[in-house]
């Protein structure tokens, strides 16, 4: 970003003018419009007014949204009044509407309600310091004092909730939410009940219940206002997207349930600190801006803020001891003058253990960055090194040939770089970010170092109980992800307000002179103000971009980015064609023949794009090891026939001859993944068709040769053609992603360039080998060597119609599945493979039917777990306990959408023999049947 004099001048000027204008109120002629008085009772998170008089909150933002669509002025009334007052004020006409109302029968006698404007629940909270009430353990709720707001409909919800959960409570009424919050924190009440529209602080949520919509409430006779409100709400629903959700996230994101379960021992210790029986003395480094540093005699910084959030969350008070030097800080640590440090970096855990210190889990990973000038040429000749704060020897290995320039601190090091006295300095990432972002002239930049990184944690001296490290670890885990980074952004991001007019004059005297030409500047005012905002936005964007880059740099992986670049390039080509032809179509709407041709081209490019995306997905699944082969008994001839059918069509289109030969096939039935085997063969065959000119020949052959291992057989598949062939160079990289023959003959050929890479990967998975012979103009010949286990003698050696289908033919399944559609799919799947089945819609009906069964009626039970009336686990239990002799021995296979180890364990305990996760497919079923001893087909 360059700071040309004219831009600085713009900015300085704009600031000046903005200051001047700020003192004038608008003096336009006002059009007469209706004034609506809105009840605006104080309620944190919903209706708020800050010291500057700025209003905010869900309710406030809702009014701002509807005011976009209504020609009215709102007047905000009654900030000092209570919710209870609001209803009276609305009734007597001193306000016209109030916006957070629940609809209740009593209120409907007197008031009318708009369309819903949000959803809220009743929220029961306790102070974060009060651990005597355990969320969800209603025994611990019994007899508690609950503070609530007068006239609030939520109070009835609690009565119902308490009756349902069997606890009693003493209600204590408050006028204002603020009084209620104070009473909760002072211990006057044990819990607070309000709507979840209240934003909480230092409170933990015990329960959220009775979720209902809330509305704008108006007087019953004020139908005109109600109609206008509903009109505006309709507009919001149509235009503003998911506005309710957005407002919720803006003001109540904290409501996500993050319940910390402290053990009794931990609670007891926290209590000792909270009551003042013990004091916790903490400290941190004094010279690590912006992580922790001393300003005005106080410790400040990201780490201090973060620790404060942890302590606040736990409800543990602490004292901060401010060190004056690094030596003093180290001495305190060794002499146990302090109880703990917030910024511990552990080099040796053994030292920690041997000396009876303890540490929390790490809460952040600190990284280093090299700060240089923007015009730096890349070679570090002079490296600034902070003598007092050496970075653990990192500089020893960094740019070893560079001259060392001693500086007192890292800040001084960065200043030396800025002034050109040094080329580079190594500092912590956020230190670099802060300094670079706050350097007005934009002369500096920084580069993130991959290595080394340091994990920081909270450490405690032998002074205190090790239980503290567990307490803080739980708090660290409970913090929302990215909390540390969010706090860091407060310190490191560029702040426009730091740029005052004087700074600019100081750095650049020239604009000061220019400013004298005031009149001229007046004319430019509008443009300049815009310029300034744009500049600030650019600066903010730049700092955001820099941090994003830092994150990316960590993850950057050259191979992946090459791959991505290729994918993007390849996706662009058909995409451009689609966009291009779509544009052309616009100009030819009157010419159906031409339109038809363009549509054909779009369709062609789309299907190419789709196959490219399919391949990319396949490739990434393979690379992420997400593809599992699903071997099942299959017939090889059957697979060859299927592949032949598909290929014959495309070969015929190009007038190519296509031969298929099968030799010496002793074992046709093998165990293999049919889908993947076909994919491999089709990849090779479609290439052969593509790269062979019209009139050429293509062949596919399969030959078995004597097996090496007992129980398995070896096969050689050959795909050959007499097409364009490949050069030696290309052969060397044919299996790399996006390798594509560049020969002029093939330029017109569409291919994704991923097919061979996928083929190779799949073959690796199948433990197969592929070899290729080819020469330009001589055609190509691919040979695959694969070995498959021979399918067992159990009905699977019939040739032709696949063993896959025959494997469960004639078996009788008894099933329970409550969902009609799933039941139908199950039935179709089983019948397609020749099995019979009876399906009951719940456990109870299956168990009832089971008692009357004869042993020979069914072979196996397939049981859904989640069902109404009697679930799968209960049904299994009942069957196993049944008097029917079949009950003890019939295999039961659980069939659910759950893949959790826990559920599997539970189903086994209940007497189930195996477990299949949905979606049901043949190979899973065969595997489960093998597991329960019904089939031996699988390896």
């Amino acid at each position: 970003m360059n700071h040309s004099p004219s831009r600085i001048f713009h900015r300085a000027l704009a600031l000046l003018l903005a200051l001047l204008l700020a003192s004038f109120a608008p003096a336009c002629a006002e059009e007469a419009r209706q004034r609506i008085r809105v009840g605006f009772f104080a309620f944190d998170g919903y209706h708020m007014i800050d010291e500057g008089g700025e209003r905010s909150g869900y309710g406030c933002d809702f009014l701002r949204l509807i005011s976009r669509y209504l020609d009215v002025d709102f007047e905000f009334v009654g900030y000092e009044n209570s919710w209870d007052d609001m209803q009276d004020m609305l009734a007597d006409g001193s306000i016209d509407m109030v916006t957070s109302a629940q609809m209740t029968p009593e209120r409907m006698d007197e008031f009318a309600f708009s369309k819903p404007i949000g959803t809220s629940s009743a929220m029961l909270t306790a102070s974060s310091r009060n651990w005597s009430i355990v969320a969800g353990e209603y025994g611990s709720y019994d007899g508690m004092r609950v503070g609530m707001l007068l006239g609030n409909s939520r109070n009835d919800d609690l009565a119902e909730f308490a009756a349902e959960n069997g606890f009693s409570y003493a209600p204590i009424n408050f006028e204002l939410a603020e009084e209620l919050e104070q009473a909760l924190q002072s211990g006057e009440v044990d819990a607070a009940l309000t709507s979840s529209l209240r934003r909480t602080q230092d409170e933990r949520v015990l329960d959220l219940f009775a979720a209902h919509d809330f509305y704008v409430m108006v007087r019953k006779d004020d139908m005109q206002l109600l109609r206008r409100l509903n009109y505006a709400i309709n507009q919001l629903n149509a235009v503003e997207g998911d506005w309710k959700n957005d407002l919720n996230n803006r003001y109540y994101a904290h409501l996500e349930d993050r319940e910390l379960a402290f053990t009794a021992e931990e609670q007891a210790l926290i209590q000792q600190y909270a009551s003042g029986e013990r004091t916790l003395v903490m400290s941190a480094s004094h010279d690590r801006v912006p992580y922790s540093y001393v300003e005005d005699g106080q410790l400040k910084g990201i780490i201090i803020d973060y620790f404060d959030m942890l302590a606040d969350y736990i409800g543990i008070p602490y004292e901060l001891k401010v060190p004056v030097s690094r030596e003093e800080y180290q001495q305190w640590r060794m002499d146990c003058v302090i109880d703990g440090t917030m910024d511990a970096r552990i080099d040796s855990m053994s030292w920690v253990e041997d000396n009876s210190y303890c540490v929390s889990a790490p809460y952040t990973t600190m990284r280093l960055a090299v700060v240089t000038r923007r015009d730096f040429d890349g070679e570090i000749r002079r490296l600034a090194v902070a003598t007092a704060q050496g970075l653990f020897g990192i500089e020893d290995n960094f740019a070893p040939s560079a001259q060392r320039i001693d500086v007192a601190s890292r800040e001084e090091g960065m200043r030396a770089v800025l002034d050109g006295k040094a080329d580079a300095v190594v500092v912590y990432l956020y230190t670099a970010q802060q300094f670079v972002n706050q350097d007005e002239r934009g002369l500096l930049t920084y580069t993130l170092l991959e290595e080394p990184t340091y994990e920081y944690c909270v450490a405690f001296t032998p002074n205190v109980s090790h239980v503290l490290s567990g307490i803080f670890t739980k708090a660290i885990y409970a913090m929302p992800g990215g909390m540390f980074e969010d706090l860091a952004a407060e310190y490191t991001s560029y702040r426009a307000k730091d740029v005052d007019f004087l700074t600019w004059i100081k750095i650049y005297p020239l604009p000061a002179i220019l400013l004298c030409t005031g009149l001229f500047l007046m004319c430019l005012f509008a443009v300049l103000l815009f310029e300034r905002q744009k500049a600030v936005r650019l600066e903010q964007k730049r700092s955001a971009e820099l941090s994003a880059l830092a994150v990316q740099a960590e993850r950057a992986n050259r191979a992946k980015s090459d791959f991505l670049a290729n994918v993007s390039h390849d996706i662009r080509t058909p995409m451009n064609a689609i966009v291009g032809f779509a544009n052309l179509m616009d100009g030819r709407l009157d010419d159906p023949a031409q339109l038809h041709e363009y549509i054909q081209k779009i369709r062609f490019s789309s299907s190419h794009l789709l196959s490219l995306i399919d391949d990319v997905l396949d490739m990434s699944r393979i690379e992420a090891n997400k593809i599992t082969l699903l071997p099942a008994p299959i017939s090889l001839t059957d697979q060859i026939r299927q592949v032949e059918d598909i290929t014959r069509g495309s070969a015929a289109e190009r007038d190519q001859r296509f031969w298929v030969e099968i030799h010496d096939l002793e074992h046709d039935a093998v165990v293999a993944d049919a889908v993947r085997l076909r994919q491999v063969l089709l990849n090779l065959l479609s290439n052969a068709v593509k790269y062979t000119p019209s009139g050429g020949s293509i062949s596919l052959s399969l030959r078995e040769f004597p097996g090496a291992r007992a129980g398995s057989a070896n096969y050689c598949f050959t795909v050959a053609d007499n097409g364009s062939g490949m050069t030696k160079d290309f052969l060397d990289r044919i299996f790399e992603p996006f390798a594509r023959s560049e020969a002029s003959v093939t330029n017109t050929v569409q291919g994704t360039g991923l097919g061979m890479a996928i083929t190779k990967n799949l073959l690796d998975r199948m433990k197969g080998e592929i070899s290729v012979e080819s020469a330009p103009g001589k055609g190509s010949r691919f040979e695959l060597l694969l070995s498959f286990p021979i399918a067992s003698a159990d009905g699977s050696q019939h040739t032709e119609l696949a063993a896959e289908s025959g494997a469960i033919a004639g078996m009788r399944f008894l099933c329970a599945e409550d969902n009609a559609l799933n039941a139908e799919i199950l039935e179709a799947t089983l019948r397609m493979h020749g099995a019979e089945c009876t399906i009951y819609p719940d456990g109870a009906q299956l168990v009832q039917a089971f008692d009357a069964l004869k042993p020979e009626d069914y072979d196996v039970i397939l049981m859904d777990i989640q069902m109404p009336n009697m679930n799968g686990l209960e049904a299994t239990h009942a069957i196993r306990a049944s008097e029917n002799p079949l009950g003890a021995r019939i295999p039961i296979i659980a069939m659910t959408a759950n893949a959790f180890a826990d559920d599997v364990r539970q189903s086994r305990e209940m007497g189930m023999n195996a477990h299949i996760s949905k979606p049901l497919d043949m190979s899973k079923l065969l595997r489960a049947l093998a597991e329960v001893g019904l089939r031996g087909g699988d390896e």
């Binding site: 959803t119 629940s121 969320a135 969800g136 329960d207 959220l208 219940f209 009775a210 979720a211 998911d242 959700n245 919720n248 996500e256 349930d257 789709l610 995306i613 399919d614 997905l617 396949d618 049919a674 889908v675 994919q679 409550d818 969902n819 009609a820 559609l821 799933n822 139908e824 799919i825 179709a828 799947t829 397609m832 859904d864 989640q866 109404p868 659910t896 959408a897 759950n898 996760s917 949905k918 979606p919 049901l920 497919d921 043949m922």
Partner: protein
């Protein structure tokens, strides 16, 4: 809309889904039945009335049906919601519910566009 385009649009690999069914026609037939399946309506009703255990069951069923039919996006969203509802004592986060709604709507819309 062709089946492979359909499955690409719902986040699945059409080839893998098709391998589980007797044929394209059968798969299309089942897909067309999906909008009439009651589990989504049950989920909505349970969430509206705040019946969490019923909502859990409905989400779970919806997840299973989506898995069976290869509606991957819906399956992923329904899985998240199922987990949010498992043993829950409060309504799930709006985002999870919204994600299921979006995936469900788009699946139903796409099914309406399937070729015969």
């Amino acid at each position: 809309m062709e089946l492979n385009v359909f499955f690409a649009s719902v986040g699945a690999d059409g080839r893998q889904v098709l391998a589980r069914f007797p044929g394209e026609d059968m798969l299309r037939r089942f897909l067309r039945k999906f909008p009439g399946d009651p589990s989504h309506a049950m989920l909505q009703a349970a969430l509206e009335s705040g019946n969490l255990s019923e909502a859990f069951r409905a989400a779970h069923t919806l997840k299973g049906t989506a898995a069976n039919l290869g509606l991957e996006d819906l399956y992923a969203a329904a899985s998240d919601l199922t987990e949010a509802l498992r043993g829950a004592s409060a309504l799930p986060p709006q985002q999870s519910v919204q994600a299921v709604e979006r995936a469900y709507r788009s699946a139903v819309d796409l099914i309406a566009q399937l070729d015969d």
